[in-house]
Symmetry: C2
């Protein structure tokens, strides 16, 4: 590991960009792979190491040029300036503990998980806590694995950084600079607030989409009809149902209380539509839809 | 009205394309406006007349070049070879009765409604039934009005024609040729089957999207958070919530039984997720999502 990261100095950014860091990505999938591509593209990375549970993923990531080298975790950490962890959120906690036990006071560790409270809570008293920056780039697709990685991901989206105050200020600055260069806008939150908002903005959309797919698969016995008739509306509401259960089950479990809270509300909102239809109450139906139309004010 | 439509002849298509028809669109909105643009673009139309309830929409449609002229219904019909009706499905029934009372045995009348049973049923014994072709082009966006009309709509989507056998064969051929030229593939169904499939493929997606918007608007008091955090997943599941209630309330009411049937199933599918989360049953959660993943086989 070289010493390009000059903690607490205004000069941090420049050597980062000019020389480029040695970066380890833990997990070689959609998020980490897309992150690796962006880090190369923007000159942040001179060398990227991949750490994966499976040889097949390592090979694929090498083949696709997402990583320059695959190594076991401990060796990878030793050689790296910057470690980026993007694996299922349940595995993240134990993985992060291992990593944090290995890092020195110059390295930066960042996670990209969709839940923040459990992880931040688990690491709160770790002696190297300051080396860790908790982030959630709000970008993704319904695909997973190294093949799902794309260039120009992240652009135009939000990135949440939680518990900024528990991280080294210079480390946060480095991470902010990276995400901003990737075209993201940074939002600061405490970890618990993040998880509440994520339940509304992301997690519930996935549950409704999974449930909608199950509804159609259960009731529509003529799959050809779905295939032939499905238009833009159906595809856009159901596309998240292709998402990887191995990624989403741990997210829902870690954010269980918030997700249940939103899910209960969502079921009760659907029941209002049911009631309006059962009673043939067109005024109420219109009222429900007009209320929903207010979402126009919020999303373009 | 000229006599370009040579019923029952192989030569139907050619004069259609070469000379171009005089077409009336009833309603000057998203669907009819996009249809008008396509009919001009592909040389089917030499003159397009718009019929609208409001002067403002007529002016806008003229201004946008969707129509060449705005006329009252009766005058418009007299001058037209082809009449295309795309207005809310409740208004369609009485409008179509008026139109069918006016048409001669050379004119073709087509509707584009999202429900087919009630309309086909209402017209089944009309003396001019053969002049009517019942269609549902499976394309749309969440926007409405003349400003929402776009070029190159419809391409790559399905178009359902119901009760083909009750329409004049040559009239069906004309309509098929138009939709195929617009890039659509034609599917034939009886009207009741169409409404069942439409409930699954389109109507339920709109209800879940409206309900999701209401869920988030109800519970997420920090609208700024939605605005700042919302990513692709949220936007794609909620975008249909911007749809026009004046269009959708009549669809849901006309297709009430099918929609209720699907909605009940959907609520019960959501309850399975709720139960899995409440019981912290990660195996069940995975099973539900893996089942939903089967949608990959059906939509790309």
């Amino acid at each position: 590991m070289d010493n390009k990261i000059n903690i607490g100095s205004e000069a941090i950014i420049a050597p980062f960009r000019v020389g480029g860091m040695t970066i380890t990505i833990v997990g070689v999938g959609l998020i980490s792979g897309s992150f690796a591509l962006a880090m190369k593209q923007h000159g942040f990375a001179k060398h990227i190491i991949g750490v994966s549970r499976t040889k097949a993923s390592e090979r694929k990531a090498l083949e696709l040029g997402l990583i320059d080298e695959a190594l076991p975790l401990e060796e990878a950490i030793k050689k790296s300036d910057f470690i980026y962890v993007a694996i299922p959120v349940d595995a993240t906690i134990s993985m992060m503990r291992q990593i944090m036990d290995l890092v020195n006071d110059k390295q930066i560790v960042v996670d990209a998980g969709s839940t923040k409270y459990a992880l931040c809570d688990a690491l709160t008293n770790h002696p190297s806590r300051k080396r860790f920056v908790a982030s959630h780039p709000m970008w993704g697709t319904e695909y997973s694995g190294p093949e799902a990685a794309v260039t120009n991901a992240f652009t135009g989206r939000a990135c949440v950084i939680t518990e900024k105050e528990k991280s080294d200020a210079a480390a946060v600055e480095v991470v902010e600079n990276i995400y901003k260069t990737l075209g993201m806008h940074i939002i600061y939150m405490d970890a618990a607030a993040h998880d509440v908002h994520a339940a509304y903005i992301s997690h519930i959309s996935h549950i409704t989409s999974f449930a909608l797919a199950n509804t159609v698969l259960e009731k529509e016995k003529e799959e050809d009809a779905i295939f032939e008739l499905a238009g833009g509306g159906f595809e856009s509401t159901v596309r998240l149902a292709k998402s990887n259960p191995a990624m989403w089950a741990p997210i829902f479990m870690q954010n269980r209380e918030n997700v249940l809270d939103v899910l209960n509300e969502h079921i009760s909102q659907l029941r209002k539509f049911k009631s309006a239809l059962e009673k043939e109450n067109i005024e109420y139906l219109n009222e429900l839809m007009e209320n929903a139309n207010r979402i126009k004010r919020i999303i373009k």
